[in-house]
Chain length 255, copies 6
């Protein structure tokens, strides 16, 4: 058993609270254990200059942590006047993986702005952000559908993210909290669809290496974890999940 | 009656939720109507370079809004790479007024960092920030007292803030929400102690002016509003409020 | 008597020198005691993007100090690569209060740029800037009127600014110089029109508080100080002051 | 056969030219097909502030492209005044993977600065940078060993990087050039040691997904490609490679 | 005769007004025709980090223009957040040439900050800045000498600057105003000592070239112009000029 | 004889290697002794906003050094977030002098971007950059001519640059390497055409002065050095040099 009583293949308690903030088109507060992230999705009726006239939409993400989301206060990036490399990596990742489950043509010349603001951090903030942002984004698009601005929901599949790692003592484990993460030998983030297809794999063994066997074990853990996360997303989406499933089915038939 | 059913001298519903985030020494979520601000207080065991060796503490504040705290998404200041004039004014104000009710000598060479992050905005975010930050700061100092790092609670009085304004239709009104604020002829922020003393008065009539009579009416409204806000602070502080009151009494005797 | 021989309700010697710089549409050097500010007004035939097409003008201000305007050399903001919070507050203030006495519709789609550059500082630089900028702006608009680019002078009233404060020894005093300002318990800036109406009130008691009685005394002092300043503005404006007075009279009749 | 005549599992022509620039402690020009990167390694006799006094060294990397390394001229990051997210990701990656094959304790309180400057780009610049930087770094450390500043060569293994991907037509392919990269469905960078252990796996399917079978095929291709790259590194290192092999053997025995 | 009635070898009217600002150790307002520059010299009792412990002083200069020093308003560099290339060139030039006539050893570990702020521009602002800054600097050093902080005046010679150019119509001319400067074929700045030695020569023929004969003619014009400027500097310096001349004589003897 | 065996009037070995990088319209690697600079010329089919609609072209240059071009590693300007004064001076210089030998009207509304990237530095990097950039630019324009996008080659003359200086021991010397440059009393850069006309003269005697005789000697040295450099440029240009010479002849006749 791990230090917080979990089995190696066990997720932390996950909760997705809808309509957390009143203004955004889609807004959720996702909690994964003590990690809490506000995920807001905003729709803008135009695309960035480099995409104009192509009849396609765009999804872009921003990620930030409140200074005291962490044990030690961190300096605001607005005070520093620049964004750290870590933040850039995370926001590029969030945007990229969400784009893989959205039909950008059906979205039309619109931009979806995803804002992930971590108000409390205990490991896995980037994976929680992706899992929550998927729900906020789908809600926002559902609203467009309701208002008749879209003919179809341009979502092609579910998408969730989870961290896995190699612990000196426990071997491969699922969903690391901060304490586990800071002493892990290997740290990996996996993003998958409901069909078990990989969207992104990022594994790194800083000051350590890992074998292909360990990689496979981690992928197995992640696959199961993501299945559970997608069940929680479905619940949060309610009726909207029926449309998503319809879309998945159609795509399967078209293949 | 105002558009939301309030009397001219009526505050919105105020709620102060303690321990909103687990890491900071003091953390509250203050709600004033639909305006919601996370106020965190962090204690650092040193002062900025310009104050070293003076045996005195310092209080500094940072203020930010999530991009979708507002009706329209606003660009992050970290993306712009600089802080707007409005943000600077607000964070200077929060730090300045909190310093007026803290005995910086008793605090010793420590810095209190106040972080006010608006997660939802509906007018009065700067006054809500001050009212909430006072509670977060007092809780953080109470923790230092409990841990024996301070001999006394270096708080000299309560402190709360409220907005008042002149409405074309209703005349002088208390605690403006966003809709009222955006069409007010005069906009004023008043910060006072429990003893009815003024700490800061900022009144501005952009594209309009106001008379001394109107100023006096607004000050009367603010005085009553602040009394109510301080009652809510007392409740949130619980036993700590007894020490604050003791401090106020001692000061009265010393005068 | 104060340390420089003035009574509590006495202004320093004020001088407004016109046409100090040859290029701007309006240019004055204002001296308030040893405080000296070059105030230049420039007219641009367009408004910022957010105002285009509304048929209204805009007034914006920039404020800066030469590095050796002060006793100790201060670092240039251009070298630091950013503007301090204090500068931002002041330039926002100058623009805001000037807009309150200009009919922006009559101005048409033009921007008035106000540049206040302090070449020597001895307290009260922001209030001297406002008092001087009003004159520079009115001269620039007078030039537009002469050239037939405006049909009327879009100035609705005089406007001047003065500082007041509470001194430990002297109580409430008018027009603080640097020495008085740095040890004042309360520091307040009042901006008023010739009709005795308030445009802006900013009072702050850092590490101190003040009563409503003190506030009233300070407002009385300011009211008289501003009357004297407006007399000096009238003299500087010469014949233009006749048009301003005409405009004030018309407005009174329309009320 | 691919558009440039290669088999799916075939590397481009790789060349490592030593001593390309005279000043650095280690300097190579690596060519991978038409991709050319100058990799310089500099030794500094101190570590960054956050590591002082720990008796350990540090490795940090910077990556840049000349404006006309690319088909279209790109704007210099120094002109923009900030580093793009892509550059940050790459330089963080280079530093991180090199640290995995250096014994930082044996390095002592020194920093190795790696500079990878792409002078001509045709896909795979980040993997070429890593493969070249490994050689430059090892040469620089060999120089310290020769000068008696190090007792042992603190290199624990070889390290090379290669890209793999999924092509719509060819399926899984090794070492993509720019043309292949820009139309690939999946893009993956693999970094491995000579022992076949993984150091980093980064796979992304923007607007596409991939199966675990495809992932395995790509890993097989990469494993072979990296073996060949390490042979070329050995040749470039000459006698130094004997010491590296000795180190690998010792580690194997200690396990 | 030139458009303003001057002969080709004639300077504009030059005036050096001392003690223009009260705070700096040395302060002059130099007027060269309609070009007006405030030159302030400040003494700081330490040198920049890269020079500490060498027992030598340093001179550094900053140059700026008020936005309406020019016909068209220019954007403040503090608003842009960076200094233009032109400003950098000028401030590097001013510091460099002043250092050539100061004995930095005799100055000791002090920094002289030169601030040249152009309040009105009509061509030749950089040369006027140098000529005025020399006087401000010498006055500031004279003050140190008077206060016994220096044993000798560490000034080795006079130094003045002038512009020369080639005009399409008039050929080589001295001291160009803005109108002449903007249509000159060749633009040159010459800085010399009272001994006729060159300190800096900067000649440029953008979209034109010039012969060695033209260069010689321009140098002749400059030599005479600088002699006149140095006479005006002497007058401004008063008794201090006697010490400078003494210093020049001693140096001549030591050669 | 100088420390590297050269006579006072002797250039270092100069080599111009064409087509060094494949993507740019013109690309050379110029070596002047151990100084090596990649000079790339790119053609863009539009001009900067301030020049649009004038029917003329523009030439702009950027200059940078790799961090380890120098003996000690220098910090990247992209990491610092701003360009140094030295870099700005150099890139302004390169652009300005190249514009003096291009007929901007014949170029049409195009921008030539010159990128000079120093990969190895041993003194004279700015003059090597100019000499190399001229060749890269002429090759790029030759390509436009070949493609029929230009009717004539808009080059009016050759242009090369060289440094000269005054050495304590050797007196006036040509083409200083880093060792000589760092102890020279006077440092001068001369840019000339093949007709012996001056385009730019920049001489500076930091902490020293120089006589007109010394200036003349340096100009003589430079004149000869530049003749040799232009011969090397001719060789590198091959057949293109015939067109340049034709252009020079025509201009001579038109004068």
């Amino acid at each position: 058993m791990r230090h917080d009583g979990r089995r190696d293949d066990e997720l932390r308690k996950v909760d997705i609270r809808k309509d957390f903030v009143i203004h955004p088109e889609g807004s959720v507060l996702i909690s994964v254990g003590e990690t809490k992230v506000i995920c807001n999705a905003s729709i803008e009726d135009r695309v960035p200059p480099f995409m104009r006239g192509e009849g396609k939409g765009w999804i872009t993400a921003e990620y930030s942590m409140l200074p005291r989301a962490t044990e030690q206060r961190t300096i605001r990036e607005s005070s520093k006047g620049k964004i750290t490399g870590r933040t850039m990596e995370i926001q590029r990742l969030i945007g990229r993986v969400l784009r893989s489950v959205v039909n950008l043509k059906e979205l039309g010349e619109r931009t979806i702005w995803i804002d992930c603001d971590v108000i409390q951090a205990d490991g896995g903030t980037r994976t929680a952000s992706i899992t929550g942002a998927y729900v906020a984004m789908t809600i926002a698009l559902g609203k467009l559908l309701d208002e008749g601005k879209l003919k179809t929901l341009p979502i092609t599949d579910y998408l969730a993210a989870v961290s896995v790692g190699v612990d000196r003592e426990h071997g491969e484990i699922l969903d690391l909290n901060y304490k586990e993460d800071s002493k892990a030998e290997v740290d990996m983030n996996i993003i998958m669809t409901s069909q078990g297809e990989l969207v992104e794999v990022q594994g790194t063994g800083e000051e350590a290496t890992f074998t292909r066997q360990q990689l496979n074990n981690m992928l197995d853990l992640a696959e199961n974890g993501i299945k559970s996360l997608i069940e929680i997303q479905k619940e949060a989406l309610g009726d909207l999940s029926l449309i998503v499933e319809e879309n998945i089915k159609k795509q399967g038939e078209n293949k």
